[in-house]
Symmetry: C2
Subunit: 292 residues, 2 copies
């Protein structure tokens, strides 16, 4: 993981940016671009005319279309913000229809499958560099978008090996920095291993907890339950795709988690207060180290 703290010249204003998928993330990219004066035209591309209308109304895009080929035609930069299973196909489609040497990135929660599948495959000098802004939430849709969603958040940029020092990678880094994010760069595989631990496993566990709570217990939930299960309100289809795309890493992270749960269970069964206390102290140390 490398974090470049050098000062760079600010991103030059872009003429046309296309955003494929105008939900929370895509809509927030559009709002941030427009609020910061970073793009003259922002074209929103989506399947639902209704969502596109909302995206226009909230000011996230300046125009919109359901036709990806037409929508990306003039774009210098295309950001694909759709569910992970759709990303690679839409990048290919966009690459065939956009300007020569255009730059494409995405906002998918998993990276190896997408980045490796596209590496060296795009025509006419079109460049793709994968990204993942760590700025999701259990909310969705363009009405939830905000211009400051990326402010101070980490965005992981995951070039394929050969692209790590290329100008495309540099431009994608500048793009996210211009939106207020802190950029971290690593390989797609490193990203997927780490995010299995920090995002996908917590989601799986929160969902199991929520699913394990019978209806008659709901009146006795308080902030602890609410916090611990919050992400379980996320879209089941999106998360099924994320778990499936990062299957091996999620299973490995889950195995580590389950072995700690087993240790806690054994300690409780054996009335071993000392081991309980040690594991809880270890957990507290890790939690306190992250803060807020």
């Amino acid at each position: 993981m490398t974090q470049n703290r050098q000062r760079h010249p600010p991103m030059k204003q872009l003429e046309t940016v296309a955003i494929v998928g105008v939900g929370l993330i895509g809509g927030s990219v559009g709002l941030a671009l427009r609020h910061r004066g970073l793009a003259r035209r922002v074209v929103g591309i989506g399947r639902s005319a209704e969502s596109l209308k909302v995206a226009e109304e909230v000011g996230a895009v300046t125009s919109s279309t359901c036709d990806l080929v037409q929508g990306v035609a003039d774009a210098e930069l295309v950001i694909v913000c759709t569910p992970v299973e759709q990303i690679a196909g839409q990048v290919r489609q966009a690459a065939g229809a956009c300007r020569e040497r255009a730059l494409i990135t995405d906002a998918g929660s998993t990276k190896a499958q997408i980045v490796r599948g596209l590496d060296g495959q795009l025509p006419r000098g079109v460049r793709f560099v994968g990204s993942h802004p760590l700025a999701g939430s259990e909310k969705s849709g363009p009405a939830t978008a905000t211009p400051d969603l990326f402010e101070g958040r980490v965005v992981v940029v995951t070039p394929a090996g050969a692209d790590a020092s290329g100008d495309g990678c540099q431009e994608v880094r500048e793009f996210w920095k211009a939106l207020g994010a802190r950029v971290v760069q690593m390989s797609p595989e490193e990203h997927d291993r780490a995010l299995a631990v920090t995002s996908h496993l917590p989601h799986l566990v929160a969902s199991a907890l929520a699913a394990a709570t019978p209806e008659n217990c709901r009146p006795l939930t308080a902030t602890g339950w609410a916090d611990t299960t919050r992400v379980a309100a996320g879209d089941p289809e999106l998360w099924t795709q994320i778990f499936s795309a990062n299957r091996e890493n999620v299973l490995a992270a889950l195995a580590d988690f389950e072995s700690i749960v087993s240790a806690l269970r054994a300690a409780l069964e054996m009335r071993d207060a000392r081991t309980l206390r040690e594991i809880l102290a270890d957990a507290k140390q890790n939690r306190d180290a992250v803060g807020n």
Copy 2:
């Protein structure tokens, strides 16, 4: 579970209330009593002179002492807000030293052990009725206390069988309502079964997640990890006591959770997207039903 929605006459002002343990909960009880003009004198009792000084400084108590016997001498109402392993012993001690027919309650996170151990054991007509305000947090100490901590929160009142219709139970209910809480009444055993699911299990799982997060992954945590693990910052000793006091119920809740985790693991191993989606949808439904 019964929730009494009848209107009652407001609680009469008390002359002297004693609070044993002036941390987040005890300190907030004191602040709420004083802000609402519900008690003329609030005596803080604790082991740490330093904490007692802070409790006086923030206005949670009007006087303080490290001597429980002396502290409860004039009290009509005693609230014991210490870790669960200390509560029963302190209730006995307070009962031997306070006024005849005084009323004692507590704020412990587990109830059966405490309530059953004290049932019929107190001298001179002193009454004990157990309580559990669902208003904890990962914070601790009197400096974190707030007068509105119980506003709109649920407090579970758990009388032993014979006390359920007694005047002590009614007075304890009135007391928490006067602090702004919604009171729910159930048996200590019902309470412990439900709280194992809604509070103790989430804490155990959050702690296992935090403990399973290696240091090098910390820079890639975002709001999802932060929410899901928040309670793991709680005091390891307090929570070791809670798990131990509610051992059987926590193990039962954990078994239910582990069987859902196993189902998720099996679905992921077998690339069974449909089952994944179904469990996540079930979780989302439960989470959405609770809100915020």
